[in-house]
């Protein structure tokens, strides 16, 4: 089949009514699962897979592609409006998107995000239409050593995210390594820090990204908001700073940045080893590295939304390349997509380019079209949904808490998920308070395994000869340039006032937190002593690195006599005129109470009681109002459980009596 023929056939098929309707259906489902934190393409595709058996192949294909393409569009809603990353590829969007919501610019942030998403999706598809012919040699050239270099490059780009104090930032990254180290070692499956497991089997697997993401960003932000303000948006007037038109204008002004991030998205998506969960951070780091007014990032700069959102949709097209050409999935959702392909009789492989080029084009352009539909839907509803940010926060917060614990439980469906979220979330609360950059931890966490395996694989296969490989040399140069850019263009902190958060006074809480970190590192080192070689090398290297960073920090915090960046305590900041003067610890205790209720009565009842009490006592609603809130969340859980085959954490009482509501929806 000639290319012209293929293009023509593909176009005709693309615009048939059946194809369009199926695509829209898929898009709609994709948007819904994308909005729910913790659920993404994997959950959505698993949902429709059973119905695909025996379905018309072209319809099934359109549905799957439609669903898969837009989860990275609608996941922006929770990221921007609530500070909860909707899926792992919209974590960076939280950094500036959420502060924008707080400033009352939610609609602007959302529309900029959706336009960027749409552009990214279309750009990705266009690049793919051409690249599909040249992708194979490129992917085959990316061996173990090249992948390792790619990861190092990503780490240096993310170096921009280390915050005011580079030592703290680097340690946070190493801390991310250390969180990932808990559980089985990748090369031996031997358990590290196995005593933490307490015979529950939870640490048979590493801690899941969902939990670290929610713990680092969502939980601290929700607690912070509860303490600070009555509504997310301080101004309460959505249109004050321009609605969705302003967002579109913002994107138009930054189209070049958006394009560069699209390119990053395509490359990262197609490359093995990096995965979609860092693409947003790489784009975000790139934006800071290459644009001016660096201080604005993190305070609600629209460019901080445009960059990751352009990249995370462009990535979907890129990720289709290895999936289609090799039948080797690049991510969990791509794995299910392949499963779906096989069900409807499509066998991924290089032959697709030569023999079924029309089909390949139908897929690629369906991605583009789905992005247009998806962004269209979202822009249309953005103004309405953005109104959420004007609701009094103590009314939304309990739902948000229930929702993030629900999302966390979807990680492994083990009780440990709930406890782990609480522990990581508590760590996040204090990292936020003491100024240890949380994005750096997340990046370290995501890349840890690849660093460990990459070094081992490269050394085992190549020894030191890997430095002779041409692509490696090019990448080493890029890495050096990136490090240079990092050092030269890093934003400098502005004010270091005597009575500001950077003061050297009242440092006891910071010293306690520092002590906890030292104890953790020491424990990890001691535990590694008893392991076999391939298990212990990496944790020993990492703990050594950690101590190397902690030592100067300890000296500075312990003996520093004037305000400096290594000091930080947000409690010493001016809080403004907020109503609730409760501490972090007070809100953490509420959560302990919720978990205790769940442990006794099961998740559905535990969370419902939590919502009821919180709404009654904190939001000061009537009994009836609180009851309605609690019930509606339970019904929401029930509907999800019914359609997505979910189960919820069981309580102790449920061992004796079935008081869980799963009877209602599981038969």
């Amino acid at each position: 089949m000639s290319i012209e023929e293929a293009v023509l056939t593909a176009f005709t098929r693309l615009f048939t009514l059946g194809h369009l309707i199926a695509l829209c259906g898929g898009v709609f489902l994709g948007l819904v699962v994308g909005i729910l934190p913790g659920l993404g393409g994997v959950a959505g595709l698993s949902l429709i897979l059973p119905f695909l058996f025996g379905a018309d192949p072209s319809i099934a294909l359109a549905m799957m592609i439609g669903l898969q393409s837009v989860t990275a569009t609608s996941d922006t809603f929770p990221s921007v409006l609530m500070g909860i990353p909707g899926t792992s590829s919209s974590q960076a969007t939280v950094m500036d998107g959420f502060p924008m919501s707080k400033k009352g610019e939610a609609a602007r942030a959302l529309s900029a995000a959706f336009i960027s998403s749409m552009y990214g999706g279309i750009f990705g598809a266009l690049v793919l239409s051409v690249a599909v012919f040249y992708a194979i040699p490129l992917i085959l050239a990316m061996g173990f050593s090249e992948q390792l270099m790619l990861i190092v490059l990503a780490l240096t780009m993310i170096g921009m995210l280390t915050g005011d104090n580079a030592w703290k930032g680097l340690f946070a990254c190493v801390m991310g390594f250390m969180v990932k180290i808990i559980g089985p070692a990748p090369m031996t499956a031997e358990l590290r820090l196995d005593f933490l497991d307490l015979d529950t089997g939870y640490f048979l697997d590493n801690v899941k990204l969902v939990i670290v993401g929610l713990g680092m960003f969502a939980m601290p932000e929700i607690i912070d908001l509860l303490r600070r303000s009555q509504t997310i948006s301080k101004s309460g007037d959505l249109r004050a700073q321009g609605g969705w038109v302003q967002g579109v204008k913002d994107w138009a002004q930054n189209w070049w940045l958006s394009t560069r991030c699209c390119v990053i998205g395509c490359i990262v998506g197609a490359m093995p080893g990096l995965g979609g969960s860092v693409v947003d951070w790489i784009a975000y780091g790139h934006a800071i590295q290459t644009t001016d007014r660096k201080d604005d990032y993190g305070t609600g700069d629209v460019r901080g939304v445009i960059a990751p959102e352009s990249a995370n949709n462009a990535k979907e097209g890129g990720a289709l390349v290895p999936t289609l050409l090799f039948g080797i999935p690049g991510s969990g959702s791509m794995a299910i997509l392949i499963g779906g392909f096989v069900l409807i009789g499509i066998e991924p492989g290089v032959e697709m380019v030569t023999e079924q080029l029309d089909l390949v084009y139908v897929m690629i352009w369906s991605v583009a079209l789905a992005n247009v539909f998806g962004a269209g839907f979202c822009v249309f509803f953005a103004n309405q949904i953005a109104l959420l940010t004007t609701i009094r926060y103590s009314l939304i917060a309990p739902f948000m808490m229930g929702l993030i614990y629900f999302a966390a439980f979807q990680a492994t469906r083990h009780w440990g998920d709930l406890l782990m979220l609480f522990i990581v979330g508590t760590l996040g609360v204090y990292m936020k308070r003491f100024g240890w950059p949380r994005p750096a931890l997340l990046i370290g966490f995501v890349l840890s395994k690849q660093v460990e395996q990459g070094v081992y694989e490269t050394y085992t296969v190549y020894g030191f000869s890997f430095f002779e490989r041409p692509i490696v040399i090019v990448m080493v140069i890029l890495i050096l340039l990136s490090v240079f850019a990092c050092i030269k263009y890093k934003p400098r902190p502005v004010s270091l006032a005597e009575d500001g958060p950077h003061t050297h006074k009242n440092k006891a809480p910071q010293l306690v937190f520092y002590g906890v970190l030292v104890a953790w590192v020491a424990m990890m080192f001691v535990n590694s002593l008893y392991k076999e070689d391939l298990t212990r090398f990496y944790p020993q290297f990492v703990t050594f690195l950690a101590l190397l960073l902690l030592l100067p920090l300890g000296l500075q915090i312990g003996f520093g006599k004037k305000p400096a960046t290594h000091f930080f305590d947000s409690e010493l900041e001016d809080f403004g005129d907020h109503e609730d003067k409760r501490t972090n610890e007070y809100h953490l205790l509420w959560l302990v109470g919720m978990l205790a209720l769940c442990a006794v009565f099961g998740f559905e009842i535990g969370v419902a009681v939590y919502i009821y009490l919180f709404t009654k006592l904190k939001a000061e609603r009537t009994h009836l109002g609180a009851l309605i809130c609690a019930l509606s969340f339970t019904i929401f859980l029930g509907v999800l459980a019914y359609y997505l085959t979910l189960e919820y954490p069981k309580g102790l009482l449920q061992n004796f009596v079935n008081i869980g509501l799963d009877r209602l929806w599981r038969g």
Binding site: L140, G332, G667
Partner: protein
């Protein structure tokens, strides 16, 4: 209507509602049956579990809703531990894969399940196909002996998840034939496949399903050359030719015979047979909890037999597991039993072998 009449009617209604409904234990109408897959979505085991879903829904008495629940973690240990605690009411059924059995033998104290306590309903063998890069190993498919000799001289690199994962069967087979590749641990099946296409690994294996789907294409292009298969262990304990791969490549026993002039024997071969059972004959199976009643067990066996009469199902599996002889009930149970019961002598040999080959 008088009050008395109403009360009588209510009593009658209540009585009716409380009367035991005469339904046999193995009727699942209105119920939800959960297929537990102790692996991630997308892998071979998940696909296998999902294959049954629509058919179980159709053929189980009472047409229950059938759902698939992926419970991954610790090469299936988490999911299998969870399954071990489930009731045998027929509402929970487990997808068992080679890793579940290997983990049972080598998973240490984290393993809280015993496959021999389960009631195996159906076992589906799937062959293990070895292949190697033509350019790096010098193999040209000129007979088993020439291939083995070439491989003994070649600089072989082989990817595995870890030293006690399902790839053990490959290491044992390589060692039996007198060569031992340099292992690269920590590689998932997908990563292994990519690495062999890049030429960073040069010897690999895949299940017959994956072999049929992608490896045959690479063979056609000349990237890799088929090498051997593991053969197939029957419920009787006898190792026979692989019904699908056997025509193209020699089994490991045949390759051994071609090189050494005699059939393999001794404790290494006995252990190898356990691994052939685990890796090929019990490649995939479905099991009910151990306390499932005879009624429930028989119903399930009968249901799977019915599914095997459905032409739509047979057409769906014809490219992979349909090429292999499945077994039901007791026969399936025997295969799992054979796979997981290594002799004390074999176990001792295996422990020493692991230390010798991979260190502490």
């Amino acid at each position: 209507m008088s009050l008395r009449k109403i009360m009588a009617a209510a009593a009658l209604g209540g009585g009716l509602a409380m009367a035991p409904i005469a339904v046999s234990a193995a009727d699942f109408s209105g119920k939800t049956v959960t297929i537990i897959v102790p692996f991630k979505e997308g892998g071979g085991a998940s696909r296998y579990g999902r294959t049954w879903q629509p058919f179980l829904q159709q053929y189980l008495p009472g047409n229950p809703k059938v759902v698939v629940l992926n419970k991954p973690g610790g090469s299936s240990i988490l999911g299998a531990n969870y399954f071990q605690k489930q009731k045998g009411d027929g509402l929970t059924i487990l997808t068992v894969s080679t890793s579940t059995l290997t983990s049972f033998l080598f998973g240490g104290n984290k393993v809280k399940y015993n496959p021999n306590s389960w009631k195996v309903v159906v076992a589906n063998p799937l062959g293990t196909a070895f292949y190697a890069r033509s350019d790096q190993t010098g193999i040209k498919n000129k007979g088993a002996k020439a291939d083995v000799m070439a491989l003994r001289k070649a600089n072989l690199v082989f990817g595995a998840k870890n030293k006690t994962s399902a790839e053990l069967r490959a290491f044992l087979a390589f060692d039996l034939l007198g060569y031992f590749p340099k292992p690269v641990f920590g590689l998932s099946t997908g990563k292994q496949r990519k690495a062999i296409l890049r030429g960073e690994l040069n010897i690999n294996y895949d299940s017959a399903a994956k072999y049929n789907k992608s490896v045959t294409k690479w063979i056609k292009k000349g990237t890799v050359t088929p090498l051997m298969n593991l053969g197939l262990l029957l419920p009787s304990g006898k190792v026979v030719k692989d019904p699908y791969l056997g025509d193209e490549t020699p089994s490991v026993a045949e390759a051994y015979e071609a090189v050494n002039g005699k059939k393999p024997s001794g404790v290494h071969w006995e252990v190898m047979k356990n691994f052939i059972a685990m890796g090929v004959s019990a490649s995939k199976s479905m099991a009910l909890p151990g306390d499932a009643s005879k009624d429930v067990y028989d119903t399930y066996v009968a249901t799977f037999k019915k599914i095997y009469k459905d032409p739509k199902f047979l057409d769906f599996i014809k490219k992979d597991m349909g090429k292999y002889p499945h077994s039901f009930g007791g026969d399936a149970q025997n295969i799992i039993k054979f796979a997981t019961s290594m002799s004390p002598e074999g176990k001792k040999w295996m422990d020493a072998w692991l230390i010798k080959k991979f260190g502490k």
